[in-house]
């Protein structure tokens, strides 16, 4: 059989059609992502405060120097790192647990699978408002937390005072919990697809060899899921550093500066202080951090030979 070459186009025009097909997408992304990024960098090198629009001038890396010298930045960075690390970890563990469940066959699996998408369908802001209610003074979860703190106090004869969302520790971890809850479904979908792609003969062979179910998970399932775990880790790291709408609705950055994640800090810098120069320097630093992390992850994927270049 003769191999038919891809479409009867001449060699010179062969590259033109695919590029044409990509043109609309490329134009959109150039105009609304690449160009703004460039402008953002240019602005970050300027003194540019909307309160003093007549005093816009170039002053090199001074915005960056100011940020790196400010305690607010380091505080926000640590909060974001803690937030993101915990979020990635919890999302992977919980999503994996649910994906493994959905891979089993049992009656009602279809129902669980349908319910899986509920948290994902809820907009971030509404999710924030929801948890305001759940964790507020009259909230159902707040009551449960109060009761469990009281029980712990009673059991151990200690006296922890529970102040709800007024406590920085509770507020930050509640924000993480709410963020994780909404992020689980997407990660779960990816894990589920990856689990279903594992050849079943491997499990059969392992069972013949008498492997325990933990060992089957450890030596067959986990290695096969390496790729999916990394993909989820990339997505969730980016999402963690971006967390904004949830914070906006749930804590407003408070109490104090307990939930000043870096995206929130950037927003405040720009639209409360109207310091566009400083805020752009902030956003550049966020971009650098997430890109660095993304490159580390992608290198990990390459090393395993899971991405073909």
């Amino acid at each position: 059989m003769t191999v038919i070459k891809p479409f009867h186009l001449m060699a010179r025009t062969r590259d033109v059609l695919p590029l044409l097909l990509n043109l609309p997408a490329v134009i959109l992304l150039l105009a609304f992502i690449a160009y703004p990024i460039g402008i953002s960098f240019w602005m970050s090198l300027h003194r540019y405060n909307l309160r003093r629009p007549d005093q816009v001038y170039f002053h090199g890396l001074e915005n960056y120097a100011n940020i790196l010298a400010s305690s607010e930045f380091w505080n926000a960075l640590w909060i974001s790192l803690y937030f993101t690390f915990m979020a990635v970890l919890l999302v992977i563990v919980i999503a994996m647990a649910i994906a493994l469940l959905l891979h089993e066959s049992f009656r009602g699996r279809g129902v669980v699978r349908a319910l899986l998408l509920i948290p994902w369908a809820i907009p971030g802001v509404v999710n924030g408002l929801m948890w305001v209610g759940l964790l507020g003074d009259y909230g159902a979860f707040n009551a449960m937390l109060e009761d469990s703190v009281a029980a712990i106090n009673y059991l151990f004869g200690i006296n922890i005072v529970y102040t709800g969302m007024a406590s920085p520790f509770v507020a930050l971890n509640a924000a993480i919990g709410a963020h994780v809850w909404r992020s689980v479904p997407f990660a779960c979908i990816i894990f589920l697809a990856a689990i279903q792609a594992i050849p079943t003969e491997q499990y059969r062979a392992a069972r013949v060899d008498g492997a325990t179910s933990w060992n089957r998970f450890r030596f067959i399932t986990l290695p096969w899921l390496y790729h999916a775990v990394l993909v989820v880790a990339i997505f969730e790291t980016m999402n963690g550093f971006r967390a904004f709408d949830l914070i906006y609705a749930l804590t407003g950055g408070g109490p104090g500066d307990a939930t000043h994640v870096i995206a929130w800090q950037t927003y405040k810098e720009a639209f409360a202080r109207l310091d566009f120069g400083g805020a752009n320097a902030y956003s550049y630093l966020i971009t650098l951090i997430t890109m660095t992390l993304a490159i580390i992850y992608i290198r990990l994927l390459y090393r395993r030979g899971l991405v073909q270049g």
Partner: protein, 281 residues
């Protein structure tokens, strides 16, 4: 036997985790105001009073939060327009680009792919100021178009990535046959390819729609009046108003969530297969 029982308990815990927060809010939305303060899980005397605030604009204009609530129908309409436009733009630009990447070998395809992946990793806050200034200079502030354009650019890289993976699963023979029958490449795309890949297209379309419906930062920045404000921004106004009873906020939350929830139920299978298959494939 014990294994079976453990499995069902496991499933029950998962269901509770996934549904309880939303179920409580849905229950609260049917409670009279005083019942919330009693930390109840279920309305004792269910009422639709919290919802009527959103629809009976004339009768309840004196209630706290009525000023926000009366704008809800219009905000839902705005979200619908924006979401639909974002979905259509994603499908047209996305399928063209993904088809080229999946099927037509050309120089620079890896570069393009990296460009798409790179733009996907740019966080929204990183470009919010230039985007704001850009929209202002084009006079697009407080229009649907500004929100549509920003949402499209955010969802497009993901759409292309997913569709490329999905398109690669379609057997090549199909297009060979079409081409032997004298189809042009574009003709093959429209007449043979798109019909076969409808499930994938529906999945990414719904995905883009729901992402747009839920997006907040750019909608907040670009819209100032109800002429263009989508529901997420309107809902966030409640976060600023301290006196609005939570029962009313809960009803509003349910109204905002309703459409994406119904869509995700209807297209559940397509979304799970479409997204899962192409991300890991």
């Amino acid at each position: 036997m014990w294994r079976r029982a453990a499995l069902y308990i496991y499933a029950l815990v998962a269901v509770i985790y996934l549904t309880l927060p939303f179920a409580w809010v849905a229950a609260v939305s049917f409670m009279p105001e005083r019942e919330v303060t009693q930390q109840r899980w279920w309305p004792e005397e269910p009422t639709v009073g919290n919802y009527s605030l959103y629809f009976d604009v004339e009768g309840r204009s004196a209630d706290v939060g009525a000023a926000i609530a009366r704008q809800f129908p219009r905000a839902i309409f705005n979200s619908l327009i924006i979401g639909t436009a974002v979905m259509l733009l994603n499908l047209t630009c996305g399928s063209l680009a993904a088809y080229a990447l999946a099927r037509l070998p050309f120089r620079g395809n890896l570069l393009l792919l990296l460009f798409y992946l790179g733009s996907r990793s740019v966080p929204g806050v990183a470009i919010m100021i230039p985007m704001y200034l850009l929209m202002r200079s084009y006079g697009l502030l407080d229009t649907h178009l500004s929100v549509i354009l920003s949402h499209t650019t955010f969802t497009l890289p993901f759409t292309i990535w997913i569709l490329k993976g999905y398109f690669q699963t379609v057997p090549l023979d199909l297009e060979r046959a079409a081409r032997v029958d004298g189809c042009t490449p574009l003709g093959a795309l429209v007449r043979v390819f798109l019909p076969v890949t409808t499930p994938g297209l529906v999945a990414v379309g719904i995905f883009a729609f729901i992402a747009s419906w839920g997006e907040f930062l750019f909608a907040l920045l670009f819209t100032t009046t109800i002429a263009s404000r989508p529901v997420t921004v309107l809902a966030s106004d409640f976060a600023q108003e301290l006196q609005v009873p939570f029962t009313v906020i809960a009803a509003g939350g349910v109204l905002v969530i309703l459409l994406p929830l119904v869509l995700s139920f209807i297209f559940q299978r397509l979304i799970i297969q479409g997204i899962g298959g192409s991300v890991t494939g």
